[in-house]
Symmetry: C2
Subunit: 723 residues, 2 copies
Amino acid sequence: MILKIYRYLLVLLLLVAGLGVQHLEADDGYRLWLRYDQISNEEVREQYRSSIGEVVLNDNSDTFALIKEEITKGLSGLLGKDIPVNSQVTDNPSLIIGTPSNSNVISSLDLTEKLKSVGNEGFLIEQHEIDGENHFIIASSTDIGALYGTFHFLRLLQTHKDLQDIAIESAPKIQHRVLNHWDNLDRTVERGYAGLSLWEWKTLPNYEDPRYKDYARANASIGINGTVLNNVNANPNMLTEQYIKKAAKLADIFRPYGITVYFSANFFAPSRIGGLENSDPLNPKVQQWWKDKVDQIYKHIPDFGGFLVKANSEGQPGPQDYGRSHAEGANVLAEALAPHDGIVMWRAFVYSPEQEDRFREGYDEFVPLDGEFADNVILQVKNGPIDFQPREPFHPLFGALPETNTMMELQITQEYFGFSNHLAYLGPLYTEAINADTYAKGEGSTVAKVIDGEVFNYEHTGIAGVANTGTNRNWTGHPFGQSNWYAFGRLAWDHTLTAEEIADNWIRMTFSHEQDLMEPVKEIMMMSREAGVRYRNPLGLTHLYAQGHHYGPAPWTSELSRPDWTAVYYHKADEEGIGFDRTETGSNAIEQYHPPVKEKFDELEDTPEEYLLWFHHVSWDHEMSTGRTLWEELVHRYYQGVEDVREMQRKWASVEGLIDQERYDHVESLLEIQEEDAIWWRNACVLYFQTHSGKPIPEGYEKPEHSLEYYKELEETHHIARF
Amino acid sequence: MILKIYRYLLVLLLLVAGLGVQHLEADDGYRLWLRYDQISNEEVREQYRSSIGEVVLNDNSDTFALIKEEITKGLSGLLGKDIPVNSQVTDNPSLIIGTPSNSNVISSLDLTEKLKSVGNEGFLIEQHEIDGENHFIIASSTDIGALYGTFHFLRLLQTHKDLQDIAIESAPKIQHRVLNHWDNLDRTVERGYAGLSLWEWKTLPNYEDPRYKDYARANASIGINGTVLNNVNANPNMLTEQYIKKAAKLADIFRPYGITVYFSANFFAPSRIGGLENSDPLNPKVQQWWKDKVDQIYKHIPDFGGFLVKANSEGQPGPQDYGRSHAEGANVLAEALAPHDGIVMWRAFVYSPEQEDRFREGYDEFVPLDGEFADNVILQVKNGPIDFQPREPFHPLFGALPETNTMMELQITQEYFGFSNHLAYLGPLYTEAINADTYAKGEGSTVAKVIDGEVFNYEHTGIAGVANTGTNRNWTGHPFGQSNWYAFGRLAWDHTLTAEEIADNWIRMTFSHEQDLMEPVKEIMMMSREAGVRYRNPLGLTHLYAQGHHYGPAPWTSELSRPDWTAVYYHKADEEGIGFDRTETGSNAIEQYHPPVKEKFDELEDTPEEYLLWFHHVSWDHEMSTGRTLWEELVHRYYQGVEDVREMQRKWASVEGLIDQERYDHVESLLEIQEEDAIWWRNACVLYFQTHSGKPIPEGYEKPEHSLEYYKELEETHHIARF
């Protein structure tokens, strides 16, 4: 009888279990890379199971409570088995997580020096034999370091790493690793393509949307430690006490995850919401207003990070409205923040309609101010001199400011990469940008070493990414958009990683480990950025976008309120050739680079072809390395861009059935859009440039389906349909 | 040994099962009222299990494939057991779903007359003994009727109804039961408070978001059979072929759920996107344009429903711009649609800035046109004469148009009810509106019987609800917002239902059956609308909202571009008293009602107190039925409104632990906001009206915390913080 009951129950068990572990269950992408599904490779799973019998930690702080939550969730999910959490080691092989102050085991090990060397946010992961039993330890000086270590440890499991004799020392190379949300208070997001802002201001501070915690957790898992909540085109109301209180609730939720909150500040806030007559930074009342305002913020948010400021840029107010310099403006805010250890991130993205070459502006404006900024100001410089284009040479300000903390701003949201409609893995763009060598102090003075402080010994270091998150269920709209958020975080922590190993990790954590999936998906990711360059702006062309939205092509735009918002300003195509002469015969922007970078870009023959038209006006008949003329090469690359997308489609088709149908279908549909758009870009650009070159499209290429006029009209109609 | 293994597996089973059926698992509200969690009452569950051994149906159509999907999901969930689906009856007690043409069993039963009487969308649910075994049948003439019957059957199970000897005949009383989405093509939603529009135009028609199907399914489950995709303030681009193709994809997804797609049409489309010189409805080219356009739409959407038009209303273009009447305008569109059996829903929401009483406008404009509209035009009239206020008397157009099809427009989105921040169950408002007696043909000529066609024998009948859906995970923002979508659908199908039984159903399907939860939650819902009236506009006051956003109070607004957008226009408070005289001594709007409604509203003493100030300017000292003066009663009701909210909070507190913590916390936080806002409304209004009455707030009421000036300022600052 008992046997019968047991048998009956067993059948039930199998049914229930069967429902639970379906392999290719629909995945809506909400969990990001923190999926923790059971490891399907039995050998790997068994190895982990046998070497982690229990977790040992003391959850005596908010952060350690989160560590307990995370490790419990992670291990029970990945190992398919509940792992007990104890406060003392029993005789199991344990995973011990702690700091010298909350763990006897950790403090008893001789880790003092090592812990010191990994600093406040770093951690150690090691295996130690204690009382004859092998234990893993995650050790750090601080709670937050232990949390980072926990996420790292879980990632090792998620990527099936061998834990035998593990010995990891990890510490972030850059201090401030922040997201910049261009989120408006009405919840629209400038250049946001994934729904509304995550911050539901109308129900804050009363309601804590569970998503706030999930957001902080995702960031902490990749080492991001700061977030600027609102748009750099800043609504002054962000600084009212009402909004400060709302933001304080977010800060409370983010704090145990190590995330610091920053505000974008409107420079005219003193007059716009403070009732003062002006916002002149040299007006003592204005200075006092900022001090009082900052004190008020710290009352509500004791660990407030500081301000991000876009001043005298694209219509934003700034110190120059009163004849004051950027430094004079920034320093007033910096002085108010200094007593609280807050910082000012001051954007270097300035350009005026009058200048001859927008490329030069940031450098010409800020290099003369080097040394004038307060110690707690960091100048925030975009990776390239124009504006987050698919490919730019590195910004000449990197390496030119020995006396001014300089951080980098990257764009995660795909403003110039097809929004959330296109697949574009930006890891290769980010690594290209940070690995560029400035030669500021000779070879090896990479941008990375400038922004991590090594080259000039900066007091504050930072890196910012313009976020691509929104209320879309999968956070980023395009299922692959998540990979750019992920890559930004991983590189901000460790800029020595390669784009490919980050992609590898992300695919394993987000999709699966199956080789038949891994390989084609990695290939898709690794080719996607270059494809995006080719079908839009090959050979160093730039900013051929329709003005305003930056989605589709409009290389013909010439009549706008500002010349530097037109496309012809950038490509300068004429009967002779195409490209922007930035050598001595032109704007001489190359003089802003150190030798030998300067020399390399000065010589047409030495300039790498992918940067060619950034620096030279080149004859249509110029012979390229392939033996093709420039015109032929340009056409070739545009066509290649479309072929690349088709190759991505073929590769994607090969993984059907290897991931859930939901995400498969989504990506497939979006690649279909991307192919249409790539053709649109190619045809519009080739037909337009043909009006200058006067040359035919070489044999062997499919002819554009429509006329140039047709594509000019699409600027209107097609655009309204795609965003 | 075997015993040991079984025991071990049993332990595992219990663990897994324990994880699976946790009663109070977090619920993000996405599933709406279609939750299908296992019935926890064992007796009920066992009864259902024993009487439904299998389902019998032939899934030979798209709709029957959905029926199979739904009944499988529903039964396996509710009964916690897989129920087989067969195409023929075996000897089980079965649930047979079919039409006479796809089911031998159904056609063999003598149902012809009954099926005829329930029409094309109706269904029968009965129990029949066949070959000595009891079977349930769901029978209908059409596939879609069978789908409605299936949802009805599942609802019986969800609400634990006894199925013994069941005999249900159900058919919708109203033909066109449509949602109006005020969704713009850029995905913002006018008066939408639950995220962005559900329609992701930029990825249509390529990508089918799974949510499109979930939307259609939710609507079908409550009998909604049409949806107007875009805002009545219509972007003409909706009528471009590009958007028609996108909408066609939605129509394809909605079709098997019985949902027809409609567009809001911009009356100037012929000139704005058609390249014509004007959009004059009497211009033959314009008429041809509409015919061609409609033909083009039907090429892509063969079952397209027709157009909704807001013309010559709040700045929208219309036939009057060319000196043509509404009928002349509507009929041009109607003629184009007629060959395809499409309809025009023409809104009666018109009012000009010059008139003395906006109340009168709809009637004065449209009654003279009665009989002039084409047969396939339906005039869409809001429930009340002003604009979706918390309480309005019924619109006098109901009962005044014997020769013009007239449908009702209700607002589901809470434009005047605190957006998605406040809990307001609108069932009582809807039933109050449809049960009002117009006396058009003597007693019993209710609004319901006007709009279901009984009173005037209309050819087309309809009811529209302005949708409250958006991309928020729980669809409607406030967890209780779903109940208004639900109530609208249920009443559109059957206007004899009471608000309370709908609430009862909704709570059981959305939360739980537990009596300790059911009772307080039902009480909260049933008191919530009246609470909203009290703290905003008691005793027949109306439209005291700050202009534009309609969230908070601004009874003082007097200087706006249009007098009928000010608050003083509506309340007319002065030293003597308060209220709008609409009797013969005033605007005489009451003449638009049939006797005896007219007489009832004419006499101050006969006018129900909740409508008092809608029709009379009443002295502050007027003695009310409670013995209080009007001033005292007004103050009393404002304070009562706040107390009501506090009572709702107390009742909600009593259900903690009886539902999942996620939804509990969310509602609790929102009620906190609602209490703050109710106090804000109360204090602002009482203090403002006091400046007219000159009388003190009676003893015993808590004094307003701040001055009137303070609340006037809040109009700015508080508003920006709440939406």
